[in-house]
Amino acid sequence: MTQAAEALYRQAGAQFAPALARLARSVERDPEKARDLEQEMHCALWISLARFDGRCALKTWVYRVAHNVAADHVSRAVRGPQRVALDVIETLPSAGNVEAETAEALVLAQVGELIRRLPPVDMQVIVLWLEGESAADIADITGLSAGAVATRVHRIKALIAGHFQSEPAYGVTA
């Protein structure tokens, strides 16, 4: 690996390590497998950065690599919940046996469960939106049109807002 690529890897680590950890933990419920997936993302990124030519932002590159590795992981999974498109989900799914003591913890658990049930494209948009990425950046990373991103973001906002309707203390910022 060249020094430039290693410097990029360290820069990416300083900026995006928590986001990639959250992505791994959101698509893989098993903590040990999630850690393996996280390292798989690091490895793919480490190898790919030798090809980084600056034609897109480092952030776009890092997220593309991480989300594509995550999508491959999901497609390799032998077992898992049946995947349902975002537009046919009416409410946030049950968080299973998670003992959530607050509405905040519960909604995080439910959003995690929702992410694991979504097809890859919907999952990618939702996770990037949760990271605070703009619609334009999400479109650049995923390759979707701005309209397709907006539709999905609108849908997830409605689902989360529905969850908080009876809990006004925990708002969702638009």
Partner: protein, 191 residues
Amino acid sequence: MTTPPLPQWTALARDAVFTDPTEMLLKADRFDQTIRRRNWREYAAGVSGVLLSIGMAAFFAWVGDYAIVGAVMVTGMGFLVVMHNLRRHASPVERLPEEPCIEHLRRQYRYQAEALHSVASWYIGPLVPGFLAMQAAIFWNAAQDRGWEEALTDKGWPFALIVAFLIGVIALNRWAARDLRRKLAALETLD
């Protein structure tokens, strides 16, 4: 970047760090070793298959059953072709994880759908000549002892069951390929 819509989300895993580059080098070495071991196992399985075919052919040549000898040789060659095809089809799509996510998904779905749809030609097909030759030899040997009618009645059922099984495998793979193509078509309409 905008304000994260659910601050609790971005508060998670704040202490996460990337794997150290030195450790990454070790992992890459281990990965190379894993690939070398897998290649060696595949090579050993191929060689074992060929040796088994040669051994069986030699045995049946010794007992003078040349129809079975021919069938075993054809089966062995079919086995080699399947090994070669498995290696070709099992290799993943060219790794370009930095491409836009939707392009990556499309390539994966297209590749997998094609592999599943064509399973009859690259997996089942090469074994068919050996299978037919073996069945013909079995029918022929049984007919020499008991006549064709009894041979076909006795040996016909196993033959039919195996044919039905192979057709089932092809149908299941085609069904899975259709499912992937539906997903691919849905992706095409997204952007």
